[in-house]
Symmetry: C3
Subunit: 152 residues, 3 copies
């Protein structure tokens, strides 16, 4: 089964890649590595939720937002490499969680990103990860995810 | 025109590279990639502005600070590779913006970094980017920029 | 002297690598690069200290926590490559410091990480670095450190 088929089987849809309105691009490739820009939870042209964990969103909601961020990252990655089966490994993921100062469950939120990558890519989806709580994110996004993929 | 000539044409000057007073270095190269340390807006030996976006600085001021961070990153990069024409691609940029909890215009601030890279390097300056709002930065800097460049 | 011998000579002990209970892994290798997951100051199965710099911990305490984070990163790296003498270079380190909004001494905290890497690896331990102050970290950790190593 291809990653695209697994995404469909999970009942999910790859969104159209979001085109940044600026002097940067959704992905940049160097050698076998593709770096994605930080992805916020855009769904049908707008953020699915806004606000901070520990104030406006609970852990389950945050996890769902992290999942949407990954879908956007995969859409960007697919636009770069054509087919997601060209992904040999998800190498690194950073999950930035907009957090109230007393919110410390960033790993549980970040699992929304990590679990989806494992569901889509299996063992090749297992990555090194950092999860951190930040003061605020673009457009009041609750989560932002960037990743590095090794591709064939 | 070389990147150095474009910098001059923009009316800008590459600063002397800032030497960290610690066990780290301004840049590290591995293969074709050069990683810069995080750069704060040092100008003539001190921070050009201090404080947080949404409290002490507005978006336009933040954007100007991001631009100065990039000049420092380019100075470090030049010290590593000799001539900026050896840069084949700016691959990845992370812009950390010291932000009040309700400041959500990190992308507009980060554009100061991205736009300057596009002005200096053209298409090769277009990079993947993450912009995040953080609680505080070294020396009360309003912005910190790190980048990865692919070099020849 | 091997890096492991230097660690012993410093009176330190490499901990058992922490196994993430999730869909991510402690390290991921691509080509000659090993990326570690973000490491918090786990010591004998629990965080050595919790809280934020500028509220609960002073600079010296933060520096000590950053040092423990690096020990955990080195344990993860050793598990990936077998012997730390296979490390050719520490390329990049990011130090996330859980910070009160007015705490701006992230570099001094991060020196705990950078200095230990220089003590263990000598010149090969000198890396590019970013140090940033974040709103909150997993499990209320005061510091989180991720690194990239070039290995043989």
């Amino acid at each position: 089964m291809t990653p695209e088929q697994r995404i469909e089987e999970l009942g999910l849809t790859l969104p159209a890649p979001v085109t940044p309105l600026a002097s940067y691009v959704p992905t940049a490739r160097t050698g076998d590595l593709v770096y994605t820009s930080g992805q916020v939870p855009m769904l049908e042209g707008k953020l699915h939720q806004t606000g901070k964990l520990g104030v406006d969103l609970g852990v389950d909601e945050g996890r769902a937002q992290a999942r949407i961020c990954v879908l956007n990252a995969l859409a960007a990655l697919k636009a770069e490499v054509g087919e997601l089966s060209r992904v040999r490994r998800i190498v690194k993921v950073v999950v930035f969680v907009a957090s109230a100062p007393d919110f410390i469950e960033q790993p549980q939120v970040a699992n929304g990103a990590s679990d989806l990558l494992a569901e889509v890519f299996g063992e090749q989806g297992k990555h090194a990860r950092s999860a951190v709580g930040v003061a605020a994110l673009p457009l009041d996004a609750p989560v932002e995810v960037e990743l590095i993929a090794e591709v064939a």
